[in-house]
């Protein structure tokens, strides 16, 4: 018995694992929180695009020996604002324009790493995330962005709700919709920036979408979604990370698979109700 318990707690003996699971859990909660907006506004392609854009910044800063948070941060927030502006004008072809720009940024990053990077390992780490590389600075960064996001969303709760539900009327009623949208894009970029080293470029958009979709199936209230979704994100991340140690699988892949499992279970349990609730979500 003692043996089993000791076995189950083994991973926590490693500092790298503890750091990794802390960052992953906070990252899961943070992605769950912002994912609510991503899912309700049908902007999943923005999460996808942003993570690819940030990859370019990450690669460039690695090659030029600039601090990751500075290099990728400037790049990420800049692309976030630009993407937000393109999307806001709702021009025909906005998706395509965003797709082209972000994929180009991604390709540039890849080429830079090929040409000047050290090893294939670093590319893999950026694409799929890595728990080994997690440092104290990552814990601080992800916590800071999480706190910032919670404070902003709580303080401007109604403006965020109004601008998400009905931007046109919100504007007329005195909500600065453009400002709220820029804020949201800024927070999203920061979130991707601080979670990317653990979750990786390729799977981060899934973490923005899955918990919020599960939460949507469970509730009809925006307010409740805002706390259910982070809990689901955190639980998936914690469980996925923990299981990955024993299964010897990639942490981020296991996190996404855990989230997907929760999605399937909730989908089955809520039945037709859950299905109608998410049927209205635009192309998740």
């Amino acid at each position: 018995m003692i043996h089993v318990v000791a076995g189950l707690t083994t991973p926590f003996r490693y500092q790298f694992f503890n750091n990794g699971i802390i960052v992953a859990t906070i990252a899961g909660a943070l992605c769950g929180l912002l994912g609510v907006f991503v899912v309700l506004r049908g902007m999943s392609y923005i999460g996808h695009g942003l993570s690819h854009a940030v990859f370019g910044g990450a690669a460039a800063s690695a090659v030029m020996n600039i601090n990751y948070f500075v290099g990728a941060g400037v790049w990420g927030v800049a692309s976030g604002v630009i993407i937000g502006r393109i999307a806001r004008r709702r021009l025909i072809g906005a998706d395509a324009a965003i797709g082209v720009v972000t994929t180009a940024s991604f390709a540039l990053g890849l080429a830079l790493l090929n040409r000047y990077g050290q090893a294939k390992k670093s590319i893999e780490a950026v694409l799929f995330g890595s728990v080994l590389g997690v440092k104290t600075i990552d814990i601080i960064a992800v916590s800071a962005v999480a706190i910032l996001s919670v404070v902003i969303i709580v303080a401007l709760y109604r403006a965020f709700l109004f601008a998400t539900f009905d931007p046109e009327v919100a504007e007329v009623s005195g909500v600065r919709v453009a400002w709220i949208e820029a804020l949201l894009m800024g927070l999203l970029s920061l979130t991707i920036l601080v979670t990317m080293r653990v979750i990786g470029t390729l799977l981060i958009s899934a973490l923005l979408v899955i918990p919020a979709s599960v939460a949507r199936m469970l509730t009809n209230s925006f307010a409740r979604m805002l706390w259910i979704s982070p809990i689901i994100g955190a639980v998936s991340a914690f469980t996925g990370m923990y299981l990955s140690y024993f299964l010897d699988t990639s942490a981020s892949a296991t996190i996404i698979l855990t989230g997907t499992l929760m999605f399937i279970v909730v989908y089955a349990v809520t039945g037709i109700r859950g299905r109608t609730r998410i049927s209205g979500l635009h192309h998740i």
Partner: protein, 259 residues
């Protein structure tokens, strides 16, 4: 007595992607007005209302508003995202985004909101999801949201589309009550006899303003033909104009041949 000017459109044109939707609109809303806009689908009713609200800007001419004019907007129900996870109460209180910021609804706000909902016959439905309501109730939730903002000018886009006769009467009574309380109202409608003919002032729109005046002045065969591009007859019933489809007789004849 003529009320003060709330909104004035002077030679205003609005466009989407450089295609003009409304042209050279000269139009004034004064305090105490109760105006209906009629016109065929695509004639620019929604566009005109949005220009008045300021959510789209004219490409030509201008809109001037009384400073700090408080407006409440009830959008066309087709434009609402009915799947969005919000309850009736959440919709109603969301307009107070500048004063009430926090997620918590204060006691005063709750009391206010419940009063408005009660008044619109939505008492007890505050925790329902907006999709779980009848068409008439859904319509009124958005009226409630607009009223919660305490508007001086209420702007409604097709407030009676898709509702039954009784609900239409209720909406009309409600609007008349609000008007009596000093709220100025502008609305768009497709319902000439059920709604438009009862209003004190009507505007016929087809990209341009075809006519602007009382129903008796405006609801004439000539104006209607010019507005809708279809022949219509006007009967006077109890002193009020009643619009009859000009093709009615033709269709009736064909149908009778089928029977």
């Amino acid at each position: 007595m003529i009320g003060e000017v709330l909104v004035e459109c002077a030679h205003m044109s609005c466009a989407y992607n450089s295609t003009l939707a409304i042209k050279k609109i000269d139009f004034t809303i004064r305090k105490g007005d109760f105006v209906g806009i009629v016109g065929p689908s695509g004639s620019g009713k929604t566009t005109l209302l949005k220009a008045i609200l300021g959510s789209i800007s004219p490409v030509e001419g201008h809109v001037t508003k009384k400073p700090h004019l408080r407006m409440g907007y009830v959008p066309q129900v087709e434009t609402v995202d009915w799947n969005f996870p919000v309850t009736v109460l959440e919709v109603v209180v969301m307009t107070r985004s500048s004063t009430g910021r926090l997620p918590r609804v204060t006691k005063d706000e709750l009391a206010d909101a419940l009063l408005v909902l009660e008044r619109l016959g939505l008492g007890g439905l505050e925790n329902r999801h907006i999709r779980e309501l009848s068409g008439g109730q859904q319509q009124r939730v958005f009226v409630a949201r607009a009223l919660f903002h305490r508007p001086e000018l209420l702007v409604l886009d097709e407030p009676t589309s898709g509702v039954d006769v009784r609900t239409r009467h209720e909406v009309l009574h409600l609007l008349a009550d609000l008007h009596d309380e000093g709220v100025s109202i502008i609305l768009s409608t497709h319902d000439l006899n059920g709604l438009a003919a009862h209003l004190p002032r009507l505007v016929c729109l087809n990209s341009e303003i075809i006519a602007d005046g009382s129903p008796v002045e405006v609801l004439t065969p000539e104006v209607l033909e010019q507005t809708f591009g279809a022949p219509m007859e006007v009967l006077i019933h109890g002193g009020m104009p009643v619009v009859v489809d000009g093709v009615g007789a033709d269709i009736a004849e064909r149908m009778s041949r089928l029977g």
